[in-house]
Every structure is written in C-alpha cells, then in structure tokens.
C-alpha cells in the first residue's frame, strides 16, 4: 500500500509497480495464459475421444487427460518461460482442479436429490398422509398399478417443526444470554474466558454423543421405558445449537459501537435497559441471521434424534410422550428399511422426496439468513 503510485505518470518504472497485485514483473514470464487454455481444450478433446471412441471409462479418460494436461502444461511453459513459470502454471492448474473437486460432488448430489425426489414431493399423498397403517402390500399394489400411492411424510414434517422449534426455544435464550454475558458483563474476566473456551469445545461434540446425553438424561429422570420423547430430541439439538448461537451472537454484539452504550449509560439508562433497548436492536439483523443459520445447521440432524426420540409411523403432536419422527430420520428409515424389501421403489421415492425437502429447507434458511443480514443491517458509516 505504501508504494502506491500515481498511475497517470508516464514513467516506465511506475507503470511496472502499478500492476503489483496481479501480474508479476519477471523477465521469465510468458505474456499470456493462452497456451494453458489451448492445452486444456486439447486435453478435454482427448478425454472425449478416449471415452467415446476407445471405450474407456469416463472417469479413467478424464483422469488420464488431466495428468497429460499437467505434464503438457509443465513442458510447454518450461520451454516458454523457464522452470519457475512452469511450476507456477502447474500449481495454478492444481488449485483450479481442487475447486472442481469440491463442486462436482455438490452438483452430483443436488442433481440426484432433485431428480429422485421431485416426483413425490409434490404428491398430495406425500404431503398430507402419515405412514400409519401403510405396509409393504400397499407399496406392492402401487407398483403393480392396482392401488394408489399412499403413505407420506406429514407426521415427519410436523415432527421436524415441533422438535426444531423446541430446540430453538431452548437454545436461543440460553445462547443469547450467554453472549450478552460474554460481551456486556464478563468481557475479559477469567470466567468469560473459560466459557468462551468451553463453548468452542462444545462445538466439537459429535451429534450422536449429544443424542446419547439427552437419552441418558431423560432415562435418568423418566426411566428407560419413557425416555424417548420429542423433548429429549429438542434437548439434544439444543446442545448442538447453543454453541453456534453463542458464537454468532457474540460476534454480532461485539461490533455494536461502544459509543452507543456509553451514550445510553451517560443518560442514566440502567445497564439492562441499555442492552435491551440499544445494543440488541442495533445487532438485531445479525442476531436473527445467526439464529437462522443455527436452525439450518440442526434441522437436518439425524443421529441424535434417532437415539433420543426413536421413530414413529404416525402423527404425534405431544412432545412430552412417545416417539416422534423428523424428516431426516424419516428419510433414513425409508432409505435403509424399505416397507417391502421386494418392492423398494416407493420407499426410496419417499426417502428422496424427504431428502429434497430437507435440502430445500436448508438452502432456503441459508438464503434467508443472508437476506436478513443484508436487508436489515444497521446503516453504518462503512
């Protein structure tokens, strides 16, 4: 930054310093990335030829072409610009490759979920019926064309809303108050430092251990027979959710300008009213988006609920008694234990539809969080 120059000066040295952030002024550099692009096209063509004409496996063809591409890039740039440029281009190719590595599975996954789940997610039976009384015989009849498609995820949708809602009700007050303690009260004290540390540790609790904890806690209180209930699942989810809420909220409260607090306190406003009326409203958009992200994180949890709530075929509105089902557990159980082992198709379709619904919910929550953060952000000078 300190060597910033005036771009309007015609001096040749300044012109060189100008492009320090992008191009490297080096005597060995080639002027263009064109050879790499041409080689890339060539490698792609080679892969297609290997795949279509020589009947290679598509993956093998692509992998072979990529290796050839790397070798070719290295050799070409070595002859054009020397070994240093060659290594630079090689690493560039690898970095781009890493990016493709992450995007490919995501695309494949989203495509699979969409393709397999789209058929049933719009079916009224899927949206309004439970699995109560639905057996493998019904599925068989449906596949043979002698019966309608029955059995859906209505109970799972309701269960997801109840369990996630309860988890939010538990974790938001605890998480927010903890964040308020960390920022407004504890600040740099020893207790605050310990709490911050343990919140970080809590982030790392495996989800299934949270489920086991909820089960152990509730079986200690209610006895092992009556331990599985919606509330237990909500507690398990809350254990996973609280650290996220605390960390997000703490960050948001911390960026509230100190001048606002000082102004309120100087006017004689009690501290708690300062927090409630000044700090929280200022940070509201950030807090809301953080909580939305925390909900998105736990709404797809399967393992803790499998352990703490179990699986129910029917609708259960009561979170304090008996098993419940959420979408994730529903998808898991339909996928791994189809109603009729002989005719798996209808159960798999249900599972994929539930998975698609989950993915849509999660994506929607993520977008919503971004929207909240953007739309209702406090107007600061920046």
């Amino acid at each position: 930054m300190s060597i910033q120059t005036d771009p309007h000066q015609g001096d040749i040295h300044h012109a060189r310093l100008d492009d320090y952030s992008g191009v490297v002024p080096s005597p060995v550099r080639p002027t263009t990335g064109r050879p790499a692009q041409l080689l890339g096209l060539g490698a792609l063509a080679l892969a297609v030829v290997g795949w279509q004409i020589f009947d290679l496996h598509l993956g093998a063809a692509l992998a072979g072409a990529f290796v050839l591409y790397l070798v070719a890039v290295y050799l070409v740039y070595r002859s054009l610009g020397g070994p240093r440029v060659a290594v630079d281009q090689l690493m560039r190719a690898l970095v781009y490759f890493a990016f493709v590595c992450a995007v490919l599975p995501l695309i494949s996954l989203l495509w699979t979920v969409l393709a397999e789940g789209a058929a049933k997610i719009v079916s009224p039976a899927f949206l309004t019926q439970t699995m109560n009384g639905v057996t493998g015989l019904h599925d068989q009849a449906y596949v043979e064309g002698t019966g309608p498609f029955i059995g859906g995820a209505y109970h799972a949708i309701i269960g997801t809303l109840i369990v996630t809602g309860l988890a939010t009700l538990i974790s938001v007050p605890i998480g927010m108050f903890t964040a308020i303690y960390l920022v407004e009260y504890g600040n740099k004290g020893r207790l605050a430092r310990w709490i911050r540390f343990f919140v970080d540790v809590m982030t790392g609790i495996p989800s299934i251990v949270a489920g086991l904890f909820a089960f152990a806690l509730f079986s200690q209180i209610f006895g092992i027979r009556d331990a599985k209930m919606g509330l237990a699942g909500a507690v398990a989810l809350a254990v996973l959710m609280i650290p996220t809420v605390v960390r997000n909220s703490e960050e948001m409260l911390r960026i509230v300008p100190n001048e606002l607090r000082e102004a309120a306190l100087a006017l004689g406003v009690p501290k708690w009213r300062t927090v409630v009326k000044v700090v929280l409203p200022t940070a509201a958009s950030g807090l809301a988006s953080g909580i939305t992200l925390a909900i998105a994180r736990v709404i797809g949890e399967t393992a803790p609920l499998l352990v703490a709530i179990g699986y129910a075929r029917g609708l259960n509105w009561n979170a304090f008694e008996n098993a419940m089902t959420t979408l994730a557990v529903y998808a898991y159980s339909m996928f791994t234990k189809p109603l009729s082992p002989a005719v798996r198709e209808p159960s798999l379709e249900r599972a994929w539809a539930a998975a698609l619904m989950l993915v849509l919910i999660v994506v929607a929550l993520n977008l919503l969080a971004r929207l909240i953060a953007k739309m209702f952000a406090p107007k600061t000078g920046r």
């Binding site: 060597i3 490297v24 993956g59 790392g204 989800s207 152990a216 200690q220 949890e301 989950l358």
Partner: protein
C-alpha cells in the same frame, strides 16, 4: 426506594445504584453462561453413569465375550482410520480451494464460491449418506476393481466389494463433508496474510506460486493445521453418512472390501433395538468417542488460539 437511600446517605451516591432489572438481567446472563459449563459436565457425567454397567460387567457378557476393551478397539480403529483417510484426502483440496478463493479467483467470484462452500456444509449428513450409497459407491466399483487387479499385493487393496460400500468410500464422502470447515478456516488465515509480505515477494520477482509459498503458506500454516484438526474432529463424530454407506463387518485391513465399523455408525445402527447391557455398551462406546473428539478438538483449539495471539492481525 432508590431516592430515599440516596437522599439519606450522601456518600452512598457515588456507589452504583443496584436496580432489580439489572440484578435479574445480569443473573440470567451469568446463569446461562454457567448452564453451558454444567451441560458440558453433564454430558460427561450422564454418559459415565449410563456406561458404568458395561465397564464393570463380566467380560463374558459383553458382545464378543472378551470384555469391553476388545469390543471397542476395532470400532476405535475403524473410526480413526476412516477419519484420517478423510482428513488426508480433504486437506490438500481444501487448501487448494482456499487459495483459489483468496489468491486466484476474481474477487466477485470469491463471494459466490463462499456461498457454494456454505451450501456444501449445510447439506444434511443423511442426504450425503443416501447420495454416497446410491450414486457414488457404484461409481467407485470400477476403480476398486482396478486397484484389486493392479495393486492387489498391497494388503489394503484386497478383494473389492461389488457394491462399493466400503470404508474407503465412506472416507471419501467424509472428506467431501469436512471440506467446508477446513476451507473456511484456511481461507480466513490466507486472507489475513500481511499485504506487504505478498507485495514484497512479488516485487522481488516471485511468480504467484512462489509468492504463495514464501509469504502466504508460512503465515497460514498454523491455521491450516488447526482447521484440519477441526475437520478431523468433525469426521470422527460423523454418523449417518458412514452408517448408510458402509456395509459393516469385523475389522479388516482390506479398505476396498466390506468390513470395519466406526463408533458413531455402530451406535446409530444398533441403538434403536438395544436394551439392558447392550445399551450400556453402546453408551460406553459413545463415551470413548466423546473422549477422542474432545482431545482432538482441544488440541485444534490450542493450535488455532496460539496462532491468534501472535498473528498481529486486527
């Protein structure tokens, strides 16, 4: 009430006035904070209570008939191996993506990629599991067949499973799942690299890769290590993907055949039907998992925090 106190004793006015609202509000804040500590202690305590029967039981009564230790060690081994493979696969790719975002891509593209990575982190693990078993595992079979034919002399590549539902498949899916966390931590530290270091490297004539190697990577390395450990912690506890993808069996060195099992998957598969001593066994296995992940996470936090102290950023 406050008024009367204030007017009767003048010196007391300098003391802060204690209002009911403040006491309640401050108490609630402190209470919540302490509740979090209690929860963490509670997790350990309740797991120990419920696991006790399995830890103290007659060895012959435990599954396998040779005591809890010999029941749990293959599971621990499976868990650790699966997570380590995932970590080894994910780290270079994650560092590559982080570099792509911080130093290669156009700035506006970077934000979009950030969203894609967030999306990858948000996909529920059960969906990853279903995709891994239905789509990904069959695709890997040709590769496993090739490994068996050509590298079969290495014990790791024994008889290939026809379904592709092996511990290596599970590891690769786990690698995809832990990519986002390693990427985001690495990207943070790469972006914090002092601008002047980078400019100095470039001004000396370094190529972009040489600049990254000499300025960015040394600065970001502790962050990358910490992020990797966090990813390892996540992989150790990951349940559903492994439970769905892996077709479990006894321990084997053959990573491309069926066999092996991880602790979380074992719990998820057997817990719903378990009762009595079996229940205690599974909870005890969960306790072991808790201890392992706790150790890994403490170590990761220690590294990341140590780095934060001397980074000079902010």
């Amino acid at each position: 009430m406050n008024d009367s106190v204030a007017t009767e004793q003048r010196p007391a006015r300098t003391k802060p006035v204690r209002r009911v609202g403040d006491i309640v509000f401050g108490g609630a804040s402190l209470g919540s904070a302490v509740l979090i500590l209690l929860t963490l202690v509670g997790v350990a305590v309740f797991l120990v209570i419920k696991a006790m029967p399995a830890l103290t039981a007659d060895p012959a009564e435990i599954s396998g008939g040779k005591g809890f230790f010999s029941y749990v060690w293959p599971l621990v081994f499976g868990t650790v191996v699966c997570s380590l493979i995932a970590m080894v696969l994910a780290t270079p790719v994650a560092v590559g993506i982080a570099l792509f975002v911080s130093h290669y891509s156009p700035r506006r593209l970077g934000a979009g990629i950030g969203f894609v990575i967030d999306l990858l982190a948000a996909v529920p693990s059960v969906v990853f599991g279903m995709w891994g078993m239905a789509v990904f595992a069959p695709k890997l079979f040709p590769l496993y067949g090739w490994l068996e034919d050509n590298l079969g002399f290495i014990p790791l590549f024994g008889e290939a499973s026809a379904s592709g539902r092996t511990i290596l498949t599970a590891s690769i899916v786990l690698a995809v799942m832990i990519l986002p966390i390693i990427t985001s931590v690495s990207r943070e530290v790469f972006l914090q690299t002092p601008r002047l270091h980078e400019e100095a490297a470039l001004a000396l004539g370094a190529t972009r890769w040489e600049m990254i190697r000499t300025a960015v990577l040394p600065f970001g390395m502790p962050g990358v290590v910490g992020g990797t450990m966090l990813g390892l912690g996540r992989a150790l506890g990951e349940t559903m993907a492994v439970a769905i993808i892996l077709s479990p069996n006894v321990f084997t060195w053959n990573f491309i055949g069926s066999g092996n099992q991880t602790i979380p998957a074992e719990i998820a598969l057997h817990f719903p039907e378990a009762s009595g001593l079996r229940l205690a066994e599974l909870i005890a296995a969960g306790l072991v998992l808790f201890v392992i992940t706790l150790a890994v996470n403490l170590f990761a936090r220690w590294i990341v925090d140590r780095r934060a102290e001397f980074s000079g950023a902010n």
